[in-house]
Symmetry: C2
Subunit: 153 residues, 2 copies
Amino acid sequence: MSQVERVGDLAESVGYLLKQAATALHASMDAVLRPQGLTVSQYSVLELLGHEPEQSNAGLARGAFVTRQSMNEVLRGLQDRGLVARPDVAERGRARPTHLTPAGQAALENASAAVARVEKRMLSPLSTTEHTELIARLIACRDALTGDGAPTG
Amino acid sequence: MSQVERVGDLAESVGYLLKQAATALHASMDAVLRPQGLTVSQYSVLELLGHEPEQSNAGLARGAFVTRQSMNEVLRGLQDRGLVARPDVAERGRARPTHLTPAGQAALENASAAVARVEKRMLSPLSTTEHTELIARLIACRDALTGDGAPTG
DNA sequence: TGACTCATGTCAGCATCCTGACACACAATG
DNA sequence: CATTGTGTGTCAGGATGCTGACATGAGTCA
């Protein structure tokens, strides 16, 4: 009980491995998206809008794990390039739901295909069962951290 | 063959889950490290030095997945607070190997214990076998991305 | 109607990290 | 000795994301 637990070998630390895997994925995504003229953040917005159109700036920020302010910058860039559009005035409230333009839809299809290939390469060493299990484990880890806010020692 | 593969349901995308888990972990680590006066980046350096002392600025940068320039900033902050030390002049070459001071060692022990508790909470839903498997899967995914640099379509 | 709460959008300032560039130290090679 | 290549430290500038603050619009309730 008096033994103080510490982070052990880094090569076997799930936290460190999580960081390594996420960094490697981000780098690989950047490598395939940059030739298409998209950053990872911009692709994330397109993908989010592809799955659920008419999302507000704040909603997209939550989906991409950034602040509203940062998302506003990303949206402005996409809007200037004509990949997304949002009304100048809000129909109701302050939220101005964003949606993909035809050009944005086309860009998303190319980008999503490229990212899917990256994901496929990342998962290539895993069997279908292992793939499914990995999803479940990641969900469990995520929920264990976000669902409970009271460490209490 | 003509069917274009795309990223599927985000809730089951390993990439998206990886990002979610890594973000949740980073936020949880920040929450326990900030009261101790440390950022996640600073903690990373202390942990790296605790596992392998006398590392150069460039070496630490590789270990923490940032550039040498960024790591230099972090090191300067830790040095000003007396948690790490490095010789003013290099004994050999340009590298000035950094090491933990006694104060840094103490800070590391507290921080590492706190982070270990966060990791433990994150892994609490997993059995020992599942924990071990998760490590292996993450390593496989990481290596699949970093080991091969030629997607070639 | 008015007060209160909540979510959203936006502005300003700051922190962090990056890219590009350059100089220095060492090893290998001729 | 001179040249080349690799690794390292550092400076300058810029891109990106964050915290803090404020105003607007909608819903709730007295």
